[in-house]
Protein backbone atom coordinates (compact mmCIF):
# COMPACT_ATOMS: atom_id res chain seq x y z
CA UNK A 1 0.00 0.00 0.00
CA UNK A 2 2.84 2.36 0.79
CA UNK A 3 4.86 2.69 -2.34
CA UNK A 4 6.70 5.49 -0.65
CA UNK A 5 10.22 4.24 -0.06
CA UNK A 6 10.92 6.59 2.84
CA UNK A 7 7.86 5.49 4.77
CA UNK A 8 8.57 1.80 4.21
CA UNK A 9 12.16 2.21 5.32
CA UNK A 10 11.09 4.05 8.46
CA UNK A 11 8.58 1.31 9.31
CA UNK A 12 11.31 -1.26 8.87
CA UNK A 13 13.59 0.52 11.33
CA UNK A 14 10.68 0.88 13.74
CA UNK A 15 10.02 -2.87 13.65
CA UNK A 16 13.68 -3.61 14.36
CA UNK A 17 13.81 -1.16 17.26
CA UNK A 18 10.65 -2.68 18.77
CA UNK A 19 12.28 -6.10 18.84
CA UNK A 20 15.52 -4.76 20.29
CA UNK A 21 13.48 -2.80 22.83
CA UNK A 22 11.54 -5.88 23.93
CA UNK A 23 14.78 -7.82 24.21
CA UNK A 24 16.25 -5.08 26.38
CA UNK A 25 13.11 -5.11 28.53
CA UNK A 26 13.70 -8.73 29.47
CA UNK A 27 16.78 -7.88 31.54
CA UNK A 28 16.55 -5.65 34.62
CA UNK A 29 19.71 -3.74 33.77
CA UNK A 30 18.63 -2.64 30.31
CA UNK A 31 14.86 -2.68 30.82
CA UNK A 32 14.39 1.05 31.16
CA UNK A 33 16.45 1.77 28.07
CA UNK A 34 14.29 -0.74 26.17
CA UNK A 35 11.02 1.03 26.80
CA UNK A 36 12.53 4.42 25.96
CA UNK A 37 13.83 3.15 22.62
CA UNK A 38 10.49 1.56 21.85
CA UNK A 39 8.84 4.85 22.77
CA UNK A 40 10.92 6.77 20.23
CA UNK A 41 10.15 4.12 17.62
CA UNK A 42 6.44 4.58 18.29
CA UNK A 43 6.67 8.35 17.85
CA UNK A 44 8.64 7.89 14.63
CA UNK A 45 6.06 5.42 13.30
CA UNK A 46 3.22 7.83 14.07
CA UNK A 47 4.90 10.86 12.53
CA UNK A 48 6.00 9.00 9.40
CA UNK A 49 2.45 7.76 8.80
CA UNK A 50 1.35 11.32 8.07
CA UNK A 51 3.67 11.28 5.05
CA UNK A 52 1.84 8.43 3.35
CA UNK A 53 0.44 9.97 0.18
CA UNK A 54 -3.31 10.09 -0.32
CA UNK A 55 -4.44 9.99 3.29
CA UNK A 56 -7.59 11.93 4.06
CA UNK A 57 -9.28 13.08 7.26
CA UNK A 58 -5.99 14.33 8.71
CA UNK A 59 -7.69 16.83 11.02
CA UNK A 60 -9.86 14.17 12.60
CA UNK A 61 -6.80 11.93 12.94
CA UNK A 62 -4.78 14.53 14.82
CA UNK A 63 -7.73 15.29 17.08
CA UNK A 64 -8.17 11.59 17.95
CA UNK A 65 -4.47 11.16 18.68
CA UNK A 66 -4.38 14.21 20.92
CA UNK A 67 -7.49 13.22 22.89
CA UNK A 68 -6.70 9.50 23.18
CA UNK A 69 -3.01 10.00 23.82
CA UNK A 70 -3.27 12.71 26.43
CA UNK A 71 -6.15 11.08 28.32
CA UNK A 72 -4.24 7.80 28.55
CA UNK A 73 -0.97 9.56 29.41
CA UNK A 74 -2.66 11.42 32.23
CA UNK A 75 -4.46 8.37 33.63
CA UNK A 76 -1.28 6.31 33.44
CA UNK A 77 0.63 9.03 35.24
CA UNK A 78 -1.69 9.28 38.24
CA UNK A 79 -2.61 5.62 38.71
CA UNK A 80 -1.33 3.98 41.87
CA UNK A 81 1.21 1.17 41.56
CA UNK A 82 -1.25 -1.28 43.10
CA UNK A 83 -3.75 -0.56 40.34
CA UNK A 84 -1.28 -1.20 37.53
CA UNK A 85 -2.71 -4.56 36.44
CA UNK A 86 -6.11 -3.19 35.58
CA UNK A 87 -4.52 -0.25 33.73
CA UNK A 88 -2.53 -2.67 31.62
CA UNK A 89 -5.79 -4.53 31.01
CA UNK A 90 -7.67 -1.47 29.89
CA UNK A 91 -4.92 -0.12 27.62
CA UNK A 92 -4.66 -3.56 26.13
CA UNK A 93 -8.41 -3.62 25.52
CA UNK A 94 -8.12 -0.30 23.73
CA UNK A 95 -5.53 -1.75 21.36
CA UNK A 96 -7.91 -4.63 20.66
CA UNK A 97 -10.72 -2.15 20.06
CA UNK A 98 -8.55 -0.24 17.58
CA UNK A 99 -7.80 -3.46 15.70
CA UNK A 100 -11.52 -4.29 15.60
CA UNK A 101 -12.25 -0.75 14.38
CA UNK A 102 -9.81 -1.15 11.48
CA UNK A 103 -11.60 -4.33 10.46
CA UNK A 104 -14.99 -2.60 10.74
CA UNK A 105 -13.94 0.16 8.34
CA UNK A 106 -12.47 -2.32 5.87
CA UNK A 107 -15.66 -4.40 5.98
CA UNK A 108 -17.96 -1.41 5.52
CA UNK A 109 -15.87 -0.05 2.67
CA UNK A 110 -16.11 -3.48 1.06
CA UNK A 111 -12.49 -3.50 -0.09
CA UNK A 112 -11.75 -6.62 -2.10
CA UNK A 113 -9.18 -8.96 -0.61
CA UNK A 114 -7.87 -12.41 -1.37
CA UNK A 115 -9.47 -15.31 0.50
CA UNK A 116 -6.55 -15.58 2.89
CA UNK A 117 -6.52 -11.88 3.74
CA UNK A 118 -10.29 -11.88 4.23
CA UNK A 119 -10.00 -14.80 6.63
CA UNK A 120 -7.22 -13.07 8.56
CA UNK A 121 -9.28 -9.90 8.66
CA UNK A 122 -12.27 -11.74 10.15
CA UNK A 123 -10.03 -13.55 12.64
CA UNK A 124 -8.37 -10.28 13.60
CA UNK A 125 -11.76 -8.62 14.02
CA UNK A 126 -13.01 -11.38 16.33
CA UNK A 127 -9.80 -11.56 18.36
CA UNK A 128 -9.61 -7.78 18.65
CA UNK A 129 -13.24 -7.53 19.79
CA UNK A 130 -12.75 -10.33 22.31
CA UNK A 131 -9.63 -8.59 23.65
CA UNK A 132 -11.57 -5.34 23.92
CA UNK A 133 -14.68 -6.56 25.74
CA UNK A 134 -12.74 -9.19 27.70
CA UNK A 135 -10.27 -6.58 28.95
CA UNK A 136 -13.14 -4.32 30.00
CA UNK A 137 -14.57 -7.16 32.10
CA UNK A 138 -11.11 -7.92 33.51
CA UNK A 139 -10.70 -4.24 34.37
CA UNK A 140 -14.10 -4.17 36.11
CA UNK A 141 -13.20 -7.26 38.14
CA UNK A 142 -9.80 -6.00 39.25
CA UNK A 143 -11.17 -2.56 39.99
CA UNK A 144 -13.71 -4.22 42.27
CA UNK A 145 -16.69 -3.08 40.20
CA UNK A 146 -17.69 -6.67 39.66
CA UNK A 147 -16.87 -9.21 42.31
CA UNK A 148 -18.73 -12.35 41.46
CA UNK A 149 -17.67 -14.88 38.91
CA UNK A 150 -20.77 -15.34 36.81
CA UNK A 151 -21.11 -18.70 35.19
CA UNK A 152 -23.83 -19.38 32.67
CA UNK A 153 -25.41 -22.83 32.53
CA UNK A 154 -23.81 -24.85 29.75
CA UNK A 155 -21.03 -22.28 29.57
CA UNK A 156 -18.71 -24.29 27.35
CA UNK A 157 -21.47 -25.19 24.90
CA UNK A 158 -22.50 -21.55 24.66
CA UNK A 159 -18.89 -20.48 24.11
CA UNK A 160 -18.41 -23.08 21.43
CA UNK A 161 -21.49 -22.25 19.41
CA UNK A 162 -21.08 -18.51 19.83
CA UNK A 163 -17.52 -18.78 18.50
CA UNK A 164 -18.62 -20.98 15.62
CA UNK A 165 -21.53 -18.73 14.68
CA UNK A 166 -19.52 -15.52 14.97
CA UNK A 167 -16.75 -16.91 12.80
CA UNK A 168 -19.23 -18.22 10.24
CA UNK A 169 -21.03 -14.91 10.03
CA UNK A 170 -17.68 -13.13 9.81
CA UNK A 171 -16.57 -15.25 6.86
CA UNK A 172 -19.89 -14.67 5.11
CA UNK A 173 -19.56 -10.90 5.31
CA UNK A 174 -15.80 -11.02 4.78
CA UNK A 175 -16.17 -12.85 1.46
CA UNK A 176 -19.12 -10.86 0.18
CA UNK A 177 -18.39 -7.88 -2.08
CA UNK A 178 -21.01 -5.68 -0.55
CA UNK A 179 -21.87 -6.89 2.96
CA UNK A 180 -25.03 -5.55 4.57
CA UNK A 181 -24.45 -3.02 7.30
CA UNK A 182 -26.70 -5.01 9.61
CA UNK A 183 -24.58 -8.12 9.09
CA UNK A 184 -21.40 -6.26 10.00
CA UNK A 185 -23.10 -4.77 13.04
CA UNK A 186 -24.41 -8.16 14.23
CA UNK A 187 -20.96 -9.68 13.68
CA UNK A 188 -19.28 -7.17 15.98
CA UNK A 189 -21.99 -7.43 18.61
CA UNK A 190 -21.51 -11.20 18.69
CA UNK A 191 -17.71 -10.91 18.80
CA UNK A 192 -17.90 -8.46 21.69
CA UNK A 193 -20.39 -10.69 23.51
CA UNK A 194 -17.98 -13.58 23.08
CA UNK A 195 -15.27 -11.67 24.95
CA UNK A 196 -17.69 -10.97 27.80
CA UNK A 197 -18.91 -14.55 28.22
CA UNK A 198 -15.33 -15.87 28.03
CA UNK A 199 -14.04 -13.70 30.87
CA UNK A 200 -17.15 -13.39 33.07
CA UNK A 201 -16.88 -16.84 34.69
CA UNK A 202 -13.19 -16.48 35.50
CA UNK A 203 -12.40 -15.61 39.10
CA UNK A 204 -10.27 -12.67 40.14
CA UNK A 205 -7.39 -14.91 41.19
CA UNK A 206 -6.91 -16.07 37.62
CA UNK A 207 -7.08 -12.56 36.16
CA UNK A 208 -3.31 -12.09 35.63
CA UNK A 209 -3.24 -15.05 33.29
CA UNK A 210 -6.33 -13.76 31.51
CA UNK A 211 -4.84 -10.29 31.02
CA UNK A 212 -1.66 -11.80 29.70
CA UNK A 213 -3.68 -13.99 27.33
CA UNK A 214 -5.76 -11.05 26.11
CA UNK A 215 -2.54 -9.10 25.63
CA UNK A 216 -1.27 -11.86 23.36
CA UNK A 217 -4.65 -11.83 21.59
CA UNK A 218 -4.40 -8.14 20.85
CA UNK A 219 -0.91 -8.71 19.49
CA UNK A 220 -2.25 -11.34 17.11
CA UNK A 221 -5.15 -9.13 16.08
CA UNK A 222 -2.72 -6.29 15.33
CA UNK A 223 -0.52 -8.67 13.37
CA UNK A 224 -3.51 -9.83 11.28
CA UNK A 225 -4.45 -6.21 10.59
CA UNK A 226 -0.90 -5.78 9.31
CA UNK A 227 -1.62 -8.45 6.69
CA UNK A 228 -4.89 -6.75 5.74
CA UNK A 229 -3.40 -3.28 5.42
CA UNK A 230 -0.15 -4.55 3.93
CA UNK A 231 2.14 -3.05 6.57
CA UNK A 232 4.89 -5.50 7.54
CA UNK A 233 5.86 -3.45 10.60
CA UNK A 234 2.42 -4.10 12.06
CA UNK A 235 2.71 -7.80 11.26
CA UNK A 236 6.09 -8.11 12.93
CA UNK A 237 5.26 -6.05 16.03
CA UNK A 238 1.87 -7.75 16.44
CA UNK A 239 3.04 -11.31 15.97
CA UNK A 240 6.13 -10.82 18.14
CA UNK A 241 3.86 -9.60 20.93
CA UNK A 242 1.40 -12.39 20.22
CA UNK A 243 4.07 -15.07 20.53
CA UNK A 244 5.86 -13.59 23.52
CA UNK A 245 2.49 -12.99 25.17
CA UNK A 246 1.57 -16.64 24.73
CA UNK A 247 4.86 -17.69 26.30
CA UNK A 248 4.39 -15.25 29.17
CA UNK A 249 0.87 -16.58 29.72
CA UNK A 250 2.24 -20.11 29.89
CA UNK A 251 4.92 -19.10 32.38
CA UNK A 252 2.30 -17.49 34.61
CA UNK A 253 -0.11 -20.39 34.34
CA UNK A 254 2.75 -22.72 35.22
CA UNK A 255 3.58 -20.68 38.31
CA UNK A 256 -0.01 -21.10 39.44
CA UNK A 257 -0.12 -24.73 38.36
CA UNK A 258 -3.32 -24.01 36.51
CA UNK A 259 -3.14 -25.08 32.88
CA UNK A 260 -4.53 -22.37 30.62
CA UNK A 261 -7.26 -24.75 29.47
CA UNK A 262 -8.49 -25.17 33.03
CA UNK A 263 -8.56 -21.46 33.65
CA UNK A 264 -10.67 -20.76 30.60
CA UNK A 265 -12.98 -23.74 30.69
CA UNK A 266 -13.29 -24.80 34.31
CA UNK A 267 -12.78 -21.65 36.34
CA UNK A 268 -12.36 -21.73 40.10
CA UNK A 269 -15.60 -20.72 41.65
CA UNK A 270 -16.79 -20.22 45.18
CA UNK A 271 -19.19 -23.10 44.68
CA UNK A 272 -16.39 -25.51 43.86
CA UNK A 273 -14.50 -24.40 46.94
CA UNK A 274 -17.48 -24.77 49.23
CA UNK A 275 -17.86 -28.35 48.08
CA UNK A 276 -14.48 -29.23 49.54
CA UNK A 277 -14.29 -30.03 53.23
CA UNK A 278 -13.15 -26.92 55.09
CA UNK A 279 -10.34 -27.25 57.61
CA UNK A 280 -11.52 -27.54 61.18
CA UNK A 281 -10.18 -26.04 64.38
CA UNK A 282 -9.77 -22.68 65.98
CA UNK A 283 -7.66 -19.70 65.08
CA UNK A 284 -5.44 -18.15 67.72
CA UNK A 285 -5.20 -14.42 68.01
CA UNK A 286 -2.03 -12.61 68.96
CA UNK A 287 -1.41 -9.03 70.05
CA UNK A 288 0.89 -6.66 68.23
CA UNK A 289 3.15 -6.67 71.29
CA UNK A 290 3.58 -10.44 71.26
CA UNK A 291 4.15 -10.39 67.52
CA UNK A 292 6.82 -7.74 68.01
CA UNK A 293 8.69 -9.72 70.62
CA UNK A 294 8.46 -12.97 68.65
CA UNK A 295 10.24 -11.27 65.78
CA UNK A 296 12.58 -9.03 67.79
CA UNK A 297 14.00 -12.00 69.67
CA UNK A 298 14.01 -14.38 66.75
CA UNK A 299 17.11 -14.97 64.68
CA UNK A 300 15.49 -15.06 61.30
CA UNK A 301 12.26 -13.59 59.97
CA UNK A 302 10.82 -14.24 56.54
CA UNK A 303 8.16 -11.82 55.37
CA UNK A 304 5.54 -13.04 52.93
CA UNK A 305 3.83 -10.01 51.44
CA UNK A 306 0.59 -10.35 49.54
CA UNK A 307 -1.83 -8.16 47.72
CA UNK A 308 -3.52 -7.22 51.00
CA UNK A 309 -0.34 -5.42 52.03
CA UNK A 310 -0.17 -3.57 48.76
CA UNK A 311 -3.80 -2.49 48.90
CA UNK A 312 -3.29 -1.12 52.38
CA UNK A 313 -0.22 0.71 51.09
CA UNK A 314 1.79 -0.82 53.92
CA UNK A 315 4.99 -1.63 52.01
CA UNK A 316 6.82 1.45 53.32
CA UNK A 317 5.86 0.61 56.90
CA UNK A 318 6.92 -2.99 56.39
CA UNK A 319 10.33 -1.89 55.13
CA UNK A 320 10.67 0.49 58.09
CA UNK A 321 9.90 -2.39 60.46
CA UNK A 322 12.38 -4.66 58.69
CA UNK A 323 15.15 -2.10 59.02
CA UNK A 324 14.43 -1.86 62.71
CA UNK A 325 14.61 -5.62 63.08
CA UNK A 326 17.88 -5.74 61.18
CA UNK A 327 19.37 -3.11 63.44
CA UNK A 328 18.48 -5.41 66.30
CA UNK A 329 20.43 -8.19 64.60
CA UNK A 330 17.55 -10.14 63.13
CA UNK A 331 17.96 -11.53 59.64
CA UNK A 332 15.05 -10.40 57.46
CA UNK A 333 14.15 -11.75 54.05
CA UNK A 334 11.21 -11.26 51.74
CA UNK A 335 9.64 -14.26 50.05
CA UNK A 336 7.66 -13.56 46.91
CA UNK A 337 5.29 -16.04 45.39
CA UNK A 338 5.31 -15.91 41.59
CA UNK A 339 1.72 -14.67 41.56
CA UNK A 340 1.85 -12.46 44.63
CA UNK A 341 0.02 -9.27 43.87
CA UNK A 342 -2.13 -9.52 40.85
CA UNK A 343 0.50 -10.36 38.28
CA UNK A 344 3.88 -12.10 38.37
CA UNK A 345 6.47 -9.55 39.34
CA UNK A 346 3.88 -7.07 40.59
CA UNK A 347 4.98 -7.48 44.21
CA UNK A 348 8.63 -6.93 43.28
CA UNK A 349 7.67 -3.62 41.72
CA UNK A 350 5.72 -2.61 44.82
CA UNK A 351 8.57 -3.51 47.19
CA UNK A 352 11.06 -1.75 44.93
CA UNK A 353 8.86 1.33 45.15
CA UNK A 354 9.12 1.19 48.94
CA UNK A 355 12.91 0.99 48.68
CA UNK A 356 13.49 -2.66 49.62
CA UNK A 357 16.80 -3.70 48.03
CA UNK A 358 16.73 -6.59 45.58
CA UNK A 359 19.12 -8.74 47.54
CA UNK A 360 16.51 -9.13 50.29
CA UNK A 361 13.84 -10.36 47.92
CA UNK A 362 13.71 -14.03 47.02
CA UNK A 363 11.40 -16.06 44.86
CA UNK A 364 9.75 -19.31 45.75
CA UNK A 365 12.47 -21.71 44.61
CA UNK A 366 15.21 -19.76 46.30
CA UNK A 367 13.68 -19.45 49.73
CA UNK A 368 11.24 -22.29 50.24
CA UNK A 369 13.73 -24.52 52.04
CA UNK A 370 14.66 -21.73 54.43
CA UNK A 371 11.26 -21.52 56.10
CA UNK A 372 12.11 -24.59 58.18
CA UNK A 373 15.02 -22.67 59.74
CA UNK A 374 13.09 -19.44 60.21
CA UNK A 375 11.85 -18.40 63.62
CA UNK A 376 8.99 -16.35 62.31
CA UNK A 377 7.15 -16.23 59.01
CA UNK A 378 5.22 -12.98 58.84
CA UNK A 379 2.39 -13.28 56.35
CA UNK A 380 0.95 -9.89 55.44
CA UNK A 381 -2.20 -9.86 53.40
CA UNK A 382 -1.38 -13.08 51.58
CA UNK A 383 -3.63 -16.08 51.72
CA UNK A 384 -3.89 -18.68 48.97
CA UNK A 385 -0.14 -18.66 48.29
CA UNK A 386 0.59 -19.99 51.79
CA UNK A 387 -2.30 -22.44 52.02
CA UNK A 388 -0.86 -25.86 52.84
CA UNK A 389 -3.87 -27.69 51.42
CA UNK A 390 -2.26 -27.10 48.04
CA UNK A 391 0.31 -29.70 49.13
CA UNK A 392 -1.95 -32.12 50.94
CA UNK A 393 -5.60 -32.03 49.94
CA UNK A 394 -6.20 -33.60 46.55
CA UNK A 395 -9.82 -32.44 46.48
CA UNK A 396 -8.89 -28.78 46.83
CA UNK A 397 -9.16 -26.66 43.69
CA UNK A 398 -5.69 -25.29 44.35
CA UNK A 399 -4.12 -28.73 44.91
CA UNK A 400 -0.69 -28.86 43.29
CA UNK A 401 -0.16 -25.11 43.14
CA UNK A 402 3.36 -24.35 44.35
CA UNK A 403 3.07 -22.52 47.67
CA UNK A 404 5.44 -20.81 50.07
CA UNK A 405 6.07 -23.13 52.99
CA UNK A 406 5.33 -20.48 55.61
CA UNK A 407 3.74 -23.15 57.82
CA UNK A 408 7.17 -24.76 58.31
CA UNK A 409 8.48 -21.80 60.30
CA UNK A 410 8.63 -22.11 64.08
CA UNK A 411 5.96 -19.43 64.46
CA UNK A 412 3.71 -17.97 61.85
CA UNK A 413 2.14 -14.55 62.26
CA UNK A 414 -0.64 -13.70 59.87
CA UNK A 415 -1.79 -10.11 59.50
CA UNK A 416 -5.22 -10.17 57.97
CA UNK A 417 -8.16 -7.81 57.72
CA UNK A 418 -10.83 -10.28 58.75
CA UNK A 419 -11.66 -13.92 59.07
CA UNK A 420 -12.87 -14.37 55.49
CA UNK A 421 -11.51 -16.81 52.97
CA UNK A 422 -8.92 -15.85 50.35
CA UNK A 423 -9.31 -14.37 46.92
CA UNK A 424 -10.15 -17.74 45.48
CA UNK A 425 -12.75 -18.35 48.18
CA UNK A 426 -10.89 -21.28 49.72
CA UNK A 427 -10.45 -21.67 53.49
CA UNK A 428 -6.82 -21.57 54.54
CA UNK A 429 -5.69 -24.55 56.62
CA UNK A 430 -2.61 -22.62 57.74
CA UNK A 431 -4.71 -20.32 59.93
CA UNK A 432 -5.88 -23.28 61.99
CA UNK A 433 -2.44 -24.71 62.63
CA UNK A 434 -0.93 -24.68 66.09
CA UNK A 435 2.08 -22.55 65.25
CA UNK A 436 -0.09 -19.93 63.59
CA UNK A 437 -1.04 -16.63 65.22
CA UNK A 438 -3.58 -14.28 63.74
CA UNK A 439 -3.29 -10.52 64.01
CA UNK A 440 -6.45 -8.90 62.72
CA UNK A 441 -6.43 -5.41 61.30
CA UNK A 442 -5.37 -3.46 58.26
CA UNK A 443 -1.78 -4.17 57.25
CA UNK A 444 -0.85 -0.51 57.57
CA UNK A 445 -2.04 -0.15 61.17
CA UNK A 446 -0.93 -3.58 62.31
CA UNK A 447 2.61 -3.12 61.03
CA UNK A 448 2.80 0.39 62.46
CA UNK A 449 1.72 -1.00 65.82
CA UNK A 450 4.31 -3.78 65.68
CA UNK A 451 6.98 -1.23 64.76
CA UNK A 452 6.09 0.87 67.79
CA UNK A 453 6.28 -2.20 69.99
CA UNK A 454 9.67 -3.22 68.59
CA UNK A 455 10.96 0.27 69.32
CA UNK A 456 9.63 -0.06 72.86
CA UNK A 457 11.52 -3.31 73.28
CA UNK A 458 14.70 -1.42 72.46
Amino acid sequence: MTSNWFVSMAYFVVAVVFIIGLKAMSSPVTARRGIVWAGFAMIAATVVTFFIPGLQNIGLMVLAIVIGGSAAWWSGKIVKMTDMPQMVAIYNGMGGGAAAGIAAIELIRGVEHSAMVSTLMVLGAIIGSVAFSGSCVAFAKLQGLMNKAIRLPQQNTINFFLTLFTFGLGLTIGYSDDPSLFGVFLFFVLALALGVVLVLPIGGADMPVVISLLNAFTGLAVGFKGFVLGIPALIVAGIVVGASGMLLTQLMAKAMNRPIRNIIFTPLTGAAAEGAEGPQGTMREVSAMDAASLMRFGGKVIIVPGYGMAVAGAQHKVWEMSKLLEEAGVEVKFAIHPVAGRMPGHMNVLLAEAGVPYDKIFDLDEINDEFAQADVALVIGANDVVNPVARTDKTSPIYGMPILNADMARDVIVIKRGRGAGYSGIENALFFKENCNMLYGSAQEAVAEITTQIKALG
Binding site: G69, G101, I105, I231, A237, S244, P357
Partner: protein, 102 residues
Protein backbone atom coordinates in the same frame (compact mmCIF):
# COMPACT_ATOMS: atom_id res chain seq x y z
CA UNK B 1 2.65 -9.32 0.07
CA UNK B 2 1.85 -12.72 -1.40
CA UNK B 3 0.52 -15.55 0.72
CA UNK B 4 3.68 -17.50 1.28
CA UNK B 5 5.92 -14.53 2.02
CA UNK B 6 3.32 -13.52 4.59
CA UNK B 7 3.40 -17.00 6.09
CA UNK B 8 7.19 -16.87 6.40
CA UNK B 9 7.06 -13.43 8.01
CA UNK B 10 4.46 -14.76 10.43
CA UNK B 11 6.57 -17.77 11.33
CA UNK B 12 9.79 -15.81 11.82
CA UNK B 13 8.06 -13.14 13.89
CA UNK B 14 6.49 -15.80 16.09
CA UNK B 15 9.87 -17.43 16.77
CA UNK B 16 11.41 -14.03 17.43
CA UNK B 17 8.72 -13.22 19.98
CA UNK B 18 9.24 -16.53 21.70
CA UNK B 19 13.04 -16.17 21.79
CA UNK B 20 13.09 -12.55 22.87
CA UNK B 21 11.48 -13.19 26.22
CA UNK B 22 12.48 -16.79 26.85
CA UNK B 23 15.04 -15.84 29.50
CA UNK B 24 13.16 -13.22 31.46
CA UNK B 25 13.34 -13.21 35.28
CA UNK B 26 10.04 -13.40 37.17
CA UNK B 27 10.42 -9.90 38.56
CA UNK B 28 10.16 -8.49 35.05
CA UNK B 29 7.03 -10.39 34.02
CA UNK B 30 4.66 -7.56 34.84
CA UNK B 31 6.72 -4.75 33.29
CA UNK B 32 7.38 -6.91 30.25
CA UNK B 33 3.70 -7.67 29.80
CA UNK B 34 3.08 -3.97 30.02
CA UNK B 35 5.92 -3.30 27.59
CA UNK B 36 4.61 -5.72 25.01
CA UNK B 37 1.19 -4.16 25.57
CA UNK B 38 2.81 -0.88 24.57
CA UNK B 39 4.41 -2.38 21.47
CA UNK B 40 1.11 -3.58 20.06
CA UNK B 41 0.01 0.04 20.42
CA UNK B 42 1.57 0.33 16.97
CA UNK B 43 -1.97 -0.58 15.91
CA UNK B 44 -2.29 3.20 16.00
CA UNK B 45 -0.49 3.32 12.66
CA UNK B 46 -2.98 0.87 11.19
CA UNK B 47 -5.89 2.83 12.58
CA UNK B 48 -4.50 6.07 11.11
CA UNK B 49 -4.21 4.45 7.69
CA UNK B 50 -7.71 3.02 7.96
CA UNK B 51 -9.11 6.42 8.90
CA UNK B 52 -7.04 8.04 6.15
CA UNK B 53 -8.70 5.83 3.59
CA UNK B 54 -12.18 6.11 5.03
CA UNK B 55 -14.77 7.82 2.87
CA UNK B 56 -15.06 11.44 4.12
CA UNK B 57 -18.72 11.43 3.05
CA UNK B 58 -19.65 8.54 5.31
CA UNK B 59 -20.08 9.61 8.94
CA UNK B 60 -20.16 5.98 10.14
CA UNK B 61 -16.72 5.22 8.71
CA UNK B 62 -15.38 8.48 10.08
CA UNK B 63 -16.77 7.77 13.54
CA UNK B 64 -15.36 4.25 13.67
CA UNK B 65 -12.02 5.48 12.31
CA UNK B 66 -11.92 8.29 14.82
CA UNK B 67 -12.46 5.91 17.73
CA UNK B 68 -9.99 3.39 16.34
CA UNK B 69 -7.28 6.07 16.22
CA UNK B 70 -8.28 7.35 19.65
CA UNK B 71 -8.11 3.86 21.18
CA UNK B 72 -4.84 3.10 19.41
CA UNK B 73 -3.28 6.32 20.66
CA UNK B 74 -4.50 5.56 24.18
CA UNK B 75 -3.00 2.06 23.98
CA UNK B 76 0.37 3.47 22.95
CA UNK B 77 0.49 6.44 25.33
CA UNK B 78 -0.93 4.61 28.34
CA UNK B 79 1.16 1.53 27.69
CA UNK B 80 4.30 3.63 27.53
CA UNK B 81 3.72 5.63 30.68
CA UNK B 82 2.83 2.70 32.95
CA UNK B 83 5.75 0.63 31.67
CA UNK B 84 8.14 3.51 32.10
CA UNK B 85 6.90 4.13 35.62
CA UNK B 86 7.30 0.48 36.59
CA UNK B 87 10.76 0.17 35.09
CA UNK B 88 11.77 3.47 36.64
CA UNK B 89 11.76 1.64 39.95
CA UNK B 90 14.49 -0.69 38.85
CA UNK B 91 17.03 2.11 38.77
CA UNK B 92 18.40 1.69 42.26
CA UNK B 93 20.43 -1.39 43.01
CA UNK B 94 20.75 -2.53 39.42
CA UNK B 95 24.16 -3.90 40.23
CA UNK B 96 22.91 -6.03 43.08
CA UNK B 97 20.12 -7.32 40.89
CA UNK B 98 22.56 -8.95 38.50
CA UNK B 99 23.70 -11.44 41.08
CA UNK B 100 20.43 -11.71 42.98
CA UNK B 101 18.08 -12.90 40.29
CA UNK B 102 18.34 -16.22 38.62
Amino acid sequence: MDGFTALYVFMLAAFTGYEVISRVPVILHTPLMSGSNFVHGVVLVGAMIALGHANPEDPLQLAIGFFAVLLGAANAAGGYIVTERMLGMFKVGEKKKEGGAK
